[in-house]
Amino acid sequence: MGARRFVVGCWGIGWILQVWAGVCLAQDGDGRAFFEAKVRPLLIDRCQKCHGAEQAKSGLRLDSRAGMEAGGESGPAVVPGKPQESLLIEAVRQTGSLRMPPKERLSEAEIEVLERWVEQGAVWPGEVGEAGGRVASAGTLDEAELAERARHWSFRPIEPVEVPAVRDEQWPTNAIDRFLLAAMEAAGVRPAGPADRRTLIRRLTFDLIGLPPTVAEVEAFVNDGRPDAYERLVDRLLASPHYGERWGRHWLDLVRYAETAGHEFDYEIPLAWRYRDYVVRALNEDLPYDRFVREHLAGDLDPAPRRDQVTGRNESILGTGFLWLGEGVHSPVDLREEQVRRLDNQIDVVGKAFLGLTLACARCHDHKFDPIRQADYAALAGYFKSTRQQYAFLDRETAGRETLRSLRDELVEVAWEGWRSDWARAGGGTGAGGSAGDGVVVFEDFEGGTLEPWHASGEAFESPAEATVRVGADALVVVPAGVAHSARISERLSGVLRSPTFTIEQNYIQYRVAGRGGRIQLIIEGFEKIRDPLYGGLAIRVDHGDAMVTVVQDVRPWRGRRAYIELADGAVADFTGETTRLVGGDGFVGLDAVWFTNDAAAVGGGEGLPVRYPLEGLGGEGAALLSRFREAETALGEPTLGLAAVDGTGEDEHVLIRGNPRTPGPAVARRFLSVFDVREGDGADGWSARGRGEDSGVAGSRRWELAEAMMDVRHPLPARVVVNRLWQHHFGRGLVATPDDLGRMGEPPSHPELLDWLAAELIGSGWSLKSVHRRIVTSSAYRMASQGDPSADERDPGNRLWHRRELRRLEAEALRDALLAISGRLEAVLGGPSVPPHLTESMEGFGRPAVSGPLDGAGRRSLYINVRRNFLPPFWVVFDYPLPVTCMGRRHVSNVPAQALTLLNDPFVREQAERWARRARTEAGESAEATIEWMYQTAFARLPSAVERMAARAFLGEEPNEADWADLAHALVNVKEFLFIP
């Protein structure tokens, strides 16, 4: 099929001129591709709505070959090889009494597709003759087909490659150049000459740290006579802390980084920025990439987590934060559906970002092109379904807790020596017990002397094995055994206790609780954005004090759902207000028992009154101890929290027929992609490895195993994917032009050997990204000029061979940062909470922040501007900042008039231009000539040409005032060379 060309132009705010190619089908040997491209979509579109998994009208299913052959009430639908005898063809031809589809006749072309397909034997890839009633949309990818698909280039092992010989031995600096040059020589194309040093330092500085070089840096490099001047420059920039900011921003595109959840009210994702800072630190430290990915998948399970050298905080766990940066639906009517959607997004991001695979395609059916089964999808989904969101405690265990514990013991000893007998006199219990009537299930009573199998985070929850006395605000209070309590040591400690996952089988959950400022949350199908309408009742504030009372929660709407209980003293997010906030950790919460009941009547007995000893009037040693205790409490400080994963109960996910949570198929045991097993010959197959479903019994999510499997060096995708990304950001286009899809639907690599050579280098260097950067930027290829040899331009017009440097347009963030840098406004501080975005008039709608941030973002780099899903700054959007919806490894580079309007009229640009002009006149001295020179040096890393000098002088006139200078500055940032880096 020949490619058709169309030209589109002049559209939208756009007026892009772009050429699109048409569609061409792959060559087809055995009819499989024809089936996938033509027949299957047609059947799905036009037939299966009535004759498929959801309904089988007249007993007929057209979603499997077997179903077709079995036929319906009128008999078999197809006779392979014989269209004239096939009812299917008769029906769509509408020549007889059976006329299908009922509403709209198929086009002639569509009918011919079906005829041809039947004629050629009705090939149905992977069909193994199962009956029409079985899961027809799943499991069609058989071993042979899987193995066939696994022969696709990106699944093959990374083999050692030979560096090719070249004729021109002078040009290459390293192996990269030899790979490129060999291809160029084969095509009769000569590489461009080297770029001059000014161009080079500007290019390299933007590429590595995302900022322009300063005048002093440029001059130092230009005048550096040492033979390794360039290598020194590379080393300096790779060691710059701004390197992590620059490449961290590239990374954030892959994980759809945002700090709000979007949807109707655009709720905050509190502390999302800690993930952003984690990425920056990891890149700056050159954390081995395999470990970086492992931490993303399972940093919370790392047996020896990395800790920050200064603060001692857990770094590894922060990697898992990316799982929770997606869009979050507000009050979904069906929580299971929302969970399935969330898992889909997580798997989509994991697949594309780390593996360059479109795994999420296999949610509803086996992947159409790549060796990924629907069962593989379910197997992966299980890992994330068994994973919960938490605000993790990052600090090392504090010494403060032990101090408080011993002070407490001393204080109780001195002040209330006889507490045990006082308590025994009062009954010595919690007043629980209650009536174990019909249908009352004790879910938990903590009588086993342990919090297990509940999972505690933070420092607040202590063993419930023995009764202890706690130091309350105005009294010492006995905390009986068998109570999960967050203030046995101090109210200042915070923590969260999470139950195992269970199925809601009864109408009510009853909690016997005490607390001040505490919270109980019922997390159903992983849904944590609890608020009205619908879900308000899932969060219970516990604020009545030390008395044990029974609280009844109506869970009738969620019978049959999977859920867990969070008992929180701080460290959870509250969604009930206008925006999200973290609940503070002061106060306490104590849980005596949890019952499931069918009746609403409380089973927890009467009010359990606390046994107390008032602190008022405490004197002598007791008073001194109390005041030391209070001082130690004050000294505790606030815990450092971070958004992270925490393991839940292990749960396998079901294959969802047609992706629909209401039609679950079998559960699949958690495992990595079966294609890699097949390749290694152990023959495991996704369908025989049945999962055990909701009670899989395998403790925890086992994500650590997933991380190990995924980053196994024998597995070729992660290394290929990441070196391709590095290449892309240095050269403007990846060796594989579709960086998030290395599957069959992606582009094939232009230089496959080079890609593998780089991947092997990465692995060989211990997964050091910086060493790959160094290889790339020290190549001759990287250092070429952007003006190519005319004959080379002729032979390689699209620069597919990289015979010259590709001109690069700065991204939105780099452009904004460059403006701040030249104006002198840049605050080069690293990390921390984000700066609120400046709100323009057009940023309106629900969830608009109450307060606008400063116009210049307080001078902080763009990386640190709060990313609000529903309120992305227009400046960014105009310059193609991607919507944070899924992995976006390649941004558009569009050309729209709004870009011109922004650079001409945006108040931020004007403000920075004015600032830059003032700075120029201060730094360059009085002479207009020197000022112009300095401006060219800061903006373009070069001196102005004679023509440019004259033009600037003419523009300024004889007696330029401040506004004239600002206009000149403003004009210069509109010159294309400011935005396009040669």
Binding site: C10, M745, Q787, V947
Partner: protein, 468 residues
């Protein structure tokens, strides 16, 4: 087809320029095209090109934010009168607020109008007079009973953020007929729908296709108004860029970015000219309600008039958002009477004026007007006097541009809860809109994430019964 294989050809705009024009690249080219010396590549030949002859050239999408009630507007249900105050006698699904009351009769009377005799409630006395131009779909359905997802779905065919809006798809498919205005304009009357401006985004299509939201204020578009001395600055930039082309090479991206400044300058004139209503007659202004006592009617009237002016200028897709009224958007969870009356008062006369005016100017034939909310409302009360969301059966209408007026398509059950006859999906609506514009919805695709994506995903059937 959603999984076809294709490969882009390494053809650059520059090569195209070289083939079709001589001289100074992009700027000259756009000038030539503007003067009609060259066939503009965008005229009727977008990414995919029209697949068949078009009935409509433009779309005006009147988005009824919040979900107007079908049983109070275009779908009368006598059973509600009979059973008013009684529990509904059918199985009902969970609703958004789950505060289900008894059957609630409509506070408004219905009357038959026009030759078609289609009943319209007294909420819409003006639109009722145009009923012979309307094709009512009484069996509309949506898959979400929650605003944001339903909004994304109505606009993009997906319940989540990130897909291109219908207007972006149309632009991608057909290109624009006007070089000085955006091809997809959203007239913001004051209410940005839940889900925000991503309802109008370009998703994985280039930013060029995203909807331009025009505010109803003095400066409708950000950064449009030129600062002092801009002409001088622009001239300097032009000279320096010319110098730069010598330094950096005449590369596509560079030349395209330079030509952008010319286009931006034209926008700075064309948009204010568009908004300047002095040339409109007093009668026209009165027709649209620009002198109405209710400020919301005046705002919406102005939006509708602007919609006509945009369509006149060849803009492909205009979406009109609702104004703020003295009540919530059409989302009457309580006090249905006041809320719906205020929303109806703001929109009724302007919409009728738009239809009348388009018709008088001969534009209705080529302009498809769509009136739709993201869902309808429940036949039983929420609380005592409101209605909850109902995505299972509600009414929308289409008019003009190849639509057969005076028709009713589909039906809901006796309560007006579920679509029971010829249920229509948003995919079907989109397929029909594209069909009328000359686009086969199955062939308008773009590759993203390993798939050829469509506005209608793998669904959608053209609703042929309402076509003229």
């Amino acid at each position: 087809m959603h999984c076809r294989r294709y490969r882009t050809l390494p053809q650059t705009r520059r090569e195209w320029l070289r083939q079709s024009a001589h001289g100074f690249g992009a700027v000259a080219l756009t000038t030539l095209m503007a003067e009609g010396a060259l066939p503009a590549p965008s005229r009727g030949a977008g990414a995919m090109g029209p697949h068949h002859s078009a009935r409509a050239r433009s779309v005006i999408f009147l988005y009824m934010d919040g979900g107007p009630s079908q049983v109070d507007t275009f779908d009368p249900k006598p059973r509600l009168d009979r059973e008013h105050g009684q529990p509904i006698r059918m199985k009902t699904p969970p609703t958004q607020f789950n505060n289900v009351g008894t059957v609630l009769r409509s506070p408004w009377r219905f009357r038959r109008w026009g030759q078609s005799g289609i009943p319209v409630s007294e909420l819409f006395p003006h639109v009722a007079r145009c009923v012979d131009d309307l094709a009512l779909i009484r069996s509309m359905t949506a898959p979400f009973s929650e605003h944001t997802q339903a909004n994304y779905f109505l606009h993009t065919g997906s319940g989540l953020q990130g897909r291109p809006s219908h207007g972006a798809w149309v632009g991608y498919g057909l290109g624009s007929e006007n070089r000085d205005l955006p091809g997809f304009v959203v007239l913001n009357g004051g209410l940005i729908p839940p889900g925000g401006v991503d309802c109008f985004g370009s998703g994985f299509l280039p930013a060029a296709y995203q909807g331009s939201v025009f505010r109803s204020s003095e400066s409708p578009v950000e950064n449009l108004r030129p600062g002092p001395g801009q002409d001088r600055m622009r001239e300097l930039v032009r000279r320096l860029d010319e110098e730069g082309l010598g330094r950096l090479g005449r590369q596509d991206a560079l030349e395209a970015a330079i030509s952008n400044y010319e286009l931006a300058a034209r926008m700075q004139t064309s948009i204010p000219a568009l908004l300047e209503l002095d040339g409109e007659s007093r009668a026209t202004k009165a027709l649209y309600g620009l002198d109405h006592a209710d400020p919301a009617t005046r705002i919406y009237g102005r939006q509708c008039l602007l919609a006509r002016r945009l369509v006149e200028r060849g803009v492909r897709f205009v979406e009109v958002l609702c104004p703020r009224v003295d009540a919530d958007r059409w989302d009457q969870h309580s006090d249905l009477k006041t809320g719906h009356e205020n929303n109806a008062r703001a929109t009724d006369q302007p919409i009728a004026a738009l239809l009348t005016d388009l018709k008088a100017r001969g534009l209705l034939d080529t302009t498809l007007v769509v009136w739709a909310g993201e869902f309808g409302r429940t036949p039983m009360a929420q609380g005592s006097d409101g209605r909850d969301h109902n995505p299972y059966g509600f009414t929308i209408w289409l008019a003009g541009g190849g639509v057969r007026g005076g028709t009713i398509y589909g039906a809901t059950d006796e309560y007006g809860y579920y679509a029971v006859e010829n249920p229509v999906t948003v995919y079907d609506l989109h397929a029909t809109m594209l069909h009328l514009l000359g686009i086969d919805h199955k062939r308008l695709t773009v590759r993203f994430g390993g798939r050829d994506m469509r506005l209608t995903d793998v669904h959608g059937e053209v609703i042929r019964s309402i076509l003229a």
